[in-house]
Symmetry: D2
Subunit: 274 residues, 4 copies
């Protein structure tokens, strides 16, 4: 079982938490703790070996921790997720393969696309695919349709696997720190459209990708993971896009695994990744 | 011997170059060639096994290549360089060590600092150090003093090894593609002052450094090399600065080696690195 | 079109090749050349912009090059491949996805497995799967059945995507430099079975994977690509296996792309990768 | 202050430790804990914000922990070290520079070389250099002289910065887990002499370096850090040696920083690196 805690820091928090666990004869298999000295914020992730009643332990921990404590005991071990896509296959396919072979650490309930392109690959994995087209309708209408489609599912996370539409503030607010995006660039570089063309023109020697939680500041949510790949003068913009897809797939897979293992805690606009 | 060529592309350039070399019984040890199809530009670097008269071969090559051809045969095998510094020791020390043990691929003629901090380390290597202080004088006066100090040397390259003053356009123009800077960030990210503080606040998971030629656009000259290092939530701004110094040292050393080996060709604002 | 050449080195080879191309008004888009000074061996890969008769150009080139020259003009732009597997899905799935979306740079004609485990994933991509079981029969009989199954296809390459049987010398000899294997370790480290257990017990901080051509020396064929991934004390053997699968998938994908783009030349037991 | 603990694992260790710290109003700034489930071993590193009497706290902790507990409170914040060298300058120079600018996290008391080559660089940093030549004397005599030279210093660690002599078992036993070596290869690959020649002949695409504690099994002590660098067909053995030196310098610097920050715990033949 996993326990995830964050609260205002004070002396004795580790003693308080571990003392309570000891009373119940719970052995700590692994414990990671971090104090952000500037924010005066305490973060912990504890793995214990036995399985006990999560709700009771959660209440017990809250009773002894500072009033602002966020305590989650045994967060859903298998997260339920929705995947939103447009036309690009690489991230979705990687997720579908891992889901199919039960190594994703989550269960994909369905896929929503604003293009029909990826319906076929979903069908091949018996995965429900919902087309919510944005064509010929207003942005508001599209969003209403999208919200409608999403709300049919109860999910822990929504993964934007190269979903090329910007979500409205009200949509994002309904899923706080539950929407994960893969950004086709090395944030904060080359924000906005066509980052690989920008990268090509700048003559960079590295390109990157960033997986982050979505907030209402475009491409500015808490960063979960970043990776880079080397490029050189022989790369055309198309070659950079191709190399970028490889790194996008890898960094999203890495970020999802961290999130699904409850290793990512968020405070303000930053993540603690245990 | 090394031959470096760039010119407008046309059919038969490799045949022309290699034919001329063959006539003179010169064996090609290694050849790298690149055509930028968008710019219609040809780049080549050829290593030949024999040593012959560079000036004659240069003239012979120019005679058979397009009129805009830049041909350099046997560029100074040991470059002469000046190093400009402020207070930070890491890049300068690395350069002094390599220079001392003859593995820099260049000869450091002297060091100019706008602070006296690094005079001692230069003295330990019997390296001339010139203090050109910027304190108590105008920007113009400082630059005049700096130009004066620099102009006493005939150098192939000026290396800004954490030199924290901005050079004037007229200074930069006097040394076209001869000034190499190490930038404390992953260009184009976090341009300007305090990039590590910006990186800390953004919660990035990677920080980088960029070595580039200096042009009159701040931090915007042709990129020679870039590297990154992983960071995480436990890094304070000070930790990021420390990690940044490691990567700055490494990427500058790497870029200098490429430049000193005549492996870097520049066109427009980009480099071809063979 | 691509031209791949290797032969004994002598003065003027680049001139000879490029001169011949120039006569035919063929523009060189990119050229990579390498001379192994110890082996006295010349390697080149040339991309030209026009499409012409490959067989004629091949003959013309052979006529002017040393007698031992291997010249391939326009090797099959889309290679035909067979994939051999056992039970692990990660490499095969990655190949099937890329094949399905036409980004593999090759066409998978079929999959042969010695276990039925991966039949289902093949079926989902309408990919022929042939079960050639090794159970209850002799090694010789198994190999005969395997040879029989393979020989029904005319292929450029056979990819061992976690195929856990050792191929006989006679099988390997029939497909010289056509069989590509992904090795679950960082060669030459931990040769043989259970490398991750060995790596765990040795307490290594990096694990790797190696893609190589198969020769009749176990795990000793020419190396095409290698990559590593960081591990630490918190990794169990199972965690190392999991991390290893990620890197195996990545390095095999990388190696296949290089091979399918005709960028890998082999001489003796080593590769030149342009 | 830093507290480093390892002992047999049992329920409640974190509670015991943190409870004791809380009683004394000591705030935990950071805590890393690891349990090796196979060895049933508990490891912890705790940073606390106040400075108190180390000896008393050590006794208090030992009193409440299992009898086999190793507890070190506030290990020497500035370690004293000796550096042993032969002829190669790269690792020693890096250490001397960091030592000179007080960023090594340790104080170099002296350097012992079995060749006079590096005396000059030491002298430039006012660093005592002792020549203990191995020439013209027996292995035993050399070792006696070396032991004698070393024993004049009281040190926390002995760093073998490219020291090319093998230390005798009795020497190694006198400094258990206090001798750190940089190995010119990616362990366990290419054990023994001339690893770069072996690497060249094998045609590897990566070379590495390993920093490890020295035990009486050659190149087999607990690994602290490992890094790799990419190489390719154009690298001669000499180029590999040169690239290897870069990575040796980097990985030794990294390992030393970890050790000097008391982040490396050793059990059996493996390290826990917090």
């Amino acid at each position: 079982m996993v326990i995830v805690i964050q609260c205002t820091d004070k002396v004795g928090l580790v003693a308080t938490i571990s003392g309570l666990l000891q009373q119940q004869e719970l052995n700590i298999v692994s414990m990671r703790e971090h104090v952000d000295g500037i924010q005066n914020r305490f973060f912990a992730r504890v793995e214990i070996s036995k399985t006990i009643d999560a709700q009771i332990l959660e209440m017990q921990l809250k009773a002894v921790l500072p009033p602002d404590a966020q305590v989650i005991v045994n967060p859903n071990p298998v997260k339920k997720i929705l995947v939103l896509v447009t036309k690009e296959y690489h991230c979705l396919s990687d997720i579908l393969i891992r889901n199919h072979f039960n190594t994703l650490g989550a269960e994909v309930l369905g896929v929503i696309g604003n293009h029909p392109t990826l319906e076929d690959i979903c069908r091949r994995f018996d995965m429900p695919f919902h087309l919510v087209s944005h064509e010929g309708i207003s942005k508001e209408e599209f969003e209403a349709n999208l919200s409608n489609a999403v709300s049919k599912y109860t999910v822990d996370y929504i993964v934007l696997a190269k979903f090329m539409r910007i979500l409205s503030p009200s949509f994002v607010e309904r899923y706080p720190l539950q929407i994960i995006n893969i950004h086709h660039s090395f944030l904060p570089a080359f924000i906005g459209a066509n980052p690989y063309k920008q990268a090509y023109e700048r003559g960079v020697k590295l390109i990157g990708a960033t997986a982050h939680f979505v907030t209402n500041q475009l491409d500015e949510g808490p960063i979960i993971a970043q990776q880079i790949i080397s490029v050189n003068h022989s790369f055309t913009t198309a070659d950079m896009v191709k190399a970028g897809k490889e790194i996008e797939t890898a960094v999203l897979a890495n970020a999802l695994q961290l999130v699904f293992d409850d290793k990512v805690l968020v405070y303000q606009n930053k993540t603690v990744v245990f």
